[in-house]
């Protein structure tokens, strides 16, 4: 640890307020300061960074709080150019190595990311002498946190290693996979998917075959369920080397064992990774494993069925349609009536994606009833999930067959007691509108859209204004002028001031989408009327709304029509009105 020389030109750093804030008593000050470290280092230059800054950071790393150390780790990742290149990178790596040993995961993870970023930029010689040896030191530590940090770094080390070096590194990693603490085994297992693609299958078999089977039988549930992803990664690596048969030989027993594991969490992992596994072993092999997927759809644990339901379309895409109809669809029919609403909800999100696979006839014949049944589900969430994916179906069979059921379903959800459900429905209106013609839409759903403007919940009112803006984009100005504006004018005359507030919101949000003619003929008069509203909030809201219109109004209009109104408001008895009016006048 070098101390800066007293009386040298380096001493001006010690007086620098930013530098001093790094050791301020207040943790918030230190945390904020640390986030600007890279900029500071750039300003003071490499020499002073090495001589003054890094020693101070070293002290901080030894005993400061995690809240400071995590952003510090992030900043250190940017220091390669700031210390003048890789010849001087050693002290930075040393600090990051220390942070990678922390018990606090957020600090470790940031340190590991920074090490990885720096490592990628090092030349081969420095990489081997500094980075790889660092990884080895972490992996050989007696405590578990450094070993956990070492795991993701092995992929970086192996990527750039010669075969000889790999022979040195891989046995270490195998040891980590068999560590006595589950935390290390989990980290080692979950990083295998980053390591396998870097190795030749022969190398994988030589080092990892035993450990792979050991992990699949690990007594810790949390280790076993990582093995599913590992199996998928193994499969795709082997297939990439045209060793499909060997891949199946390795992966199938593990997948089968996990699909029947006593722990529902392991089975869940098989379900949620099924598409990944299927892609790894190929379509032909997947055909033979369909029964495994079907069993997961019928699993006793609802969480597993939920995960599997979400993958139905993904799996079906890999099979031929006949197989889907004979094996999977009967299950789906059962799941539509499942006791658990999570299962039905997941099903609703996914099942519509089967439509493109089945095509027009197939969808009408096999899927339509399922969609309609879910559209009538008791639980709003399920119905919403159907509505949100409807475009998948309408692309295939058109909207007509659905609309007779769809419109009532939407209206029912739009009037649900829970405002968050009403909010979700509003969000689906514009995409739906794109598929309907304007008359049909206005006739069926117009009242709904305008009704929301007067909803008791303000978030709904706000969303409804945005909805009208989006609808204007879909249907064009004519729709806005003919259908929307009359309603808005009506709203501006209501006695409840909240409705008039909504009008102001409309003015500022929707006006940018309208033509100047519409602005001058319809919007401007509205704003001006509201400027003389009895309620002060409306008056100053009108002032701000007028201000938003300025870029689109002609100079003449602004001076002759708007200015007088604003000047009246500037003399208003209410202080806030005067404030906003003055602001608007200034902008004029």
């Amino acid at each position: 640890k070098k101390k800066p020389q007293v009386g040298s030109v380096l001493s001006d750093i010690m007086d620098n307020p930013f530098y001093q804030s790094l050791t301020n008593e207040d943790i918030q000050v230190r945390t904020d300061a640390v986030k600007g470290l890279a900029d500071f280092a750039e300003q003071i230059g490499p020499q002073r960074t090495l001589d003054v800054l890094l020693p101070t950071l070293s002290d901080i790393c030894i005993d400061d709080e995690d809240e400071v150390l995590a952003p510090l780790a992030v900043e250190l990742g940017k220091f390669l150019p700031l210390v003048g290149g890789e010849t001087h990178i050693q002290p930075v790596l040393y600090l990051l190595e220390g942070l990678a040993k922390s018990e606090e995961t957020s600090v470790c993870q940031k340190a590991v990311a920074s090490l990885s970023a720096i490592g990628a930029q090092l030349s081969e010689g420095v990489f081997e002498s500094h980075f790889v040896s660092l990884v080895i030191r972490l992996a050989e530590s007696e405590w578990f946190p450094p070993k956990v940090s070492a795991c993701p770094l092995f992929a970086d080390a192996l990527k750039r290693s010669s075969d000889a070096k790999k022979e040195q590194l891989l046995p270490l990693y195998v040891q980590l996979c068999q560590d006595e603490t589950p935390m290390v085994r989990r980290a080692a297992a979950s990083n295998l998917k980053n390591i396998f693609p870097l190795l030749h299958p022969d190398v994988i078999l030589k080092y990892f075959l035993d450990v792979y089977h050991l992990l699949a039988k690990d007594p810790q549930d949390s280790v076993r369920f990582i093995i599913v992803e590992v199996a998928a990664s193994l499969a795709s690596t082997f297939r990439a080397h045209n060793l499909g048969e060997k891949s199946l030989e390795l992966v199938k027993p593990v997948v089968l064992a996990c699909a029947e594991d006593r722990s529902w969490r392991v089975r869940y992992m098989v379900a949620s990774n099924f598409v990944l596994i299927a892609n790894g072993i190929g379509a032909e092999a997947t055909q033979s494993l369909v029964y495994v997927f079907v069993n997961l759809l019928k699993d006793s644990e609802a969480e597993v069925r939920t995960a599997a339901s979400g993958k139905i379309s993904g799996v079906s895409a890999l099979l031929d349609t006949q197989k889907v109809i004979s094996s999977i669809l009967p299950c789906v029919a059962g799941l539509v009536n499942d006791d658990s609403q999570q299962v039905r909800s997941a099903l609703a999100s996914d099942v519509l994606l089967l439509a493109p696979i089945f095509g027009n006839e197939g969808t009408s014949q096999h899927l339509l009833n399922i969609f309609l049944r879910l559209l009538r589900d008791d639980v709003p969430d399920v119905r919403l999930n159907i509505i949100s994916k409807l475009d998948q179906v309408t692309k295939v069979i058109g909207l007509d067959k659905l609309s007779e059921h769809l419109i009532p379903a939407i209206i029912e959800l739009a009037e649900d007691r829970q405002w968050r459900i009403r909010l979700s429905v509003i969000r689906y209106i514009p995409p739906l509108a794109k598929q309907l013609n304007v008359d049909f839409f206005t006739e069926k759903l117009g009242d709904l859209c305008f009704g929301w403007l007067e909803d008791s919940v303000s978030s709904i009112r706000k969303a409804s204004v945005e909805n009208l803006k989006d609808l204007t984009a879909v249907f064009g100005e004519a729709f806005a002028v003919n259908n929307v504006l009359p309603k808005i004018v009506e709203l501006s005359k209501k006695t409840n001031y909240l409705h008039r507030m909504t009008v102001l919101l409309f003015i500022s949000q929707v006006s940018p989408a309208l033509s100047e003619a519409a602005l001058n003929n319809h919007i401007l008069p509205l704003a001006l009327t509201l400027a003389s509203d009895p309620v002060a909030n409306i008056r100053f809201g009108a002032a701000s709304a007028l201000e938003t219109l300025f870029p689109r109004l002609s100079a003449e209009t602004k001076q002759k029509v708007v200015r007088p109104v604003l000047q009246t408001l500037n003399a208003d008895k209410d202080i806030d009105v005067r404030l906003y009016a003055a602001q608007a006048l200034k902008a004029l």
Partner: protein
């Protein structure tokens, strides 16, 4: 709170030798080794300095002691028989719950050490409502004279409507459970914003409430098994592998044959503590009058009933009137799963071979002044909290505001 030490040498060793009353076992030689707590007895009746929980870590090198006032003291093992003060910190402060207009006490109900020892050990504490994880940062080896610093790492709040009675870490190093009167939550150590509810015995109609959960414990080696005990004298095991909600227990342990009968039957049957044996094959339960050892393969009766509180039976009426019948005594196993220990009134505590009948050693905590009043029955001196070093024959007992450490001198085999 500062900590003091009294060596056995200050009084004749004979005075502190184990006292055997009515049972024969001379191979056990437990000796008083140390005492820690306030030097002077507190003048007022304040129970603030009373010990409320006590726990060795997985190596036995550290001993954590929690107090009614929310303070936690950590001791470390300096040599074979001596514990020194490592650090001390205020874990919880009392809070006022605005919704129910009640005070949430700062009393530490449970302390559990993170099962994997790192360079900087971690421990978890809880009061009635909030769980906190702390890290004890040891001074660096390259620095001379540093002090251990205790840092709060996580706060797990909002998980419980009722009062938390126990915490237990899973041996996966990732999850733990917290238990209140009616439910058990599963947490991930890294995530304080979410918990999974895995057991919920709250009835639809609270008027029909008949049973509450008293303690829970994770199995030491099987990451999927846990046990919880209830006020009905029953223990139920749950298997996390079976389903996401463990309302249907895997096994139910009860001892109808061992019931007392009579008016106080239900009150004395309630289990105040339950623990898996370190080897994972057995369960220990503590009800008001006895300890029971259970084989996990046998649910309808315990393999051993260790009755050391029979002398309380004639006094049950008085104990009921004074509310002492509701006292919650802890219990624990020795590190080699062969012996069990629990405390009682009068500063008495009992150590027994778990499987051999009639093999109980009774010891009495020496009071500060060195007097032992044999004739008085002191219900205020309750040896409620205790723990056994996981690797050595060292035990720690907490009663009132004093903690005691006893060491066994003869290294006799117990099996």
């Amino acid at each position: 709170i500062w900590y003091s030490r009294q060596r056995a040498m200050s009084a004749g060793p004979d005075e502190f030798l184990s006292k055997v009353r009515g049972f024969n076992d001379s191979t056990q030689q437990w000796e008083f080794s140390q005492m820690f707590g306030e030097d002077e007895a507190s003048q007022d009746d304040s129970t603030d300095n009373y010990i409320s929980s006590l726990s060795f870590d997985s190596t036995g090198a550290y001993l954590a002691v929690g107090y009614n006032c929310g303070q936690v003291v950590v001791l470390y093992q300096e040599d074979e028989h001596t514990y020194q003060l490592c650090c001390e910190f205020k874990s919880h402060n009392s809070e006022f719950d605005c919704l129910t207009s009640t005070e949430i006490e700062e009393k530490i109900n449970s302390i559990e050490w993170f099962p994997f020892s790192g360079r900087n050990p971690q421990l978890m504490t809880c009061n009635d409502k909030t769980i906190k994880l702390f890290r004890v940062t040891m001074p660096g080896s390259d620095e001379s004279g540093g002090f251990p610093v205790v840092r709060p790492r996580r706060v797990f709040s909002g998980g419980h409507t009722f009062n938390i009675n126990s915490l237990s870490f899973n041996n996966d190093g990732e999850t733990f459970i917290s238990t209140d009167d009616l439910s058990i939550n599963l947490w991930n150590v890294e995530i304080s914003s979410e918990a999974f509810n895995i057991v919920n015995i709250k009835p639809e109609n609270m008027e029909t409430l008949k049973e509450v959960i008293t303690r829970s414990d994770f199995h030491p080696t099987s990451c999927n098994l846990f046990v919880y005990s209830t006020s009905k004298g029953i223990m139920r095991t749950g298997d996390l592998r079976d389903s996401s909600l463990c309302d249907r227990p895997s096994q139910e342990f009860s001892d109808p044959a061992g019931s007392l009968g009579g008016f106080f039957e239900e009150l004395v049957a309630t289990i105040s503590d339950c623990k898996f044996s370190p080897n994972g094959h057995f369960l220990l339960s503590r009800d008001y009058l006895s300890m029971k050892v259970w084989d996990l393969r046998k649910v309808n009766e315990p393999v051993q009933r260790i009755k050391f509180n029979e002398h309380l039976i004639p006094k049950l009426c008085d104990l009921y009137e004074s509310d002492n019948i509701f006292d919650k005594f802890g219990c624990c196993w020795s590190g080699n799963s062969s012996q069990v220990m629990s405390g009682s009134y009068n500063g008495d505590f009992y150590i027994s071979n778990a499987f051999e009948p009639g093999n109980v050693t009774q010891l009495t905590l020496n009071s500060r002044s060195g007097n032992e009043s044999w004739n008085q029955f002191d219900t205020s001196n309750k040896a409620l909290h205790m723990d056994w070093h996981p690797k050595q024959d060292i035990i720690s007992v907490g009663a009132k505001d004093c903690g005691y450490i006893y060491v066994r001198k003869n290294a006799e085999d117990d099996h």
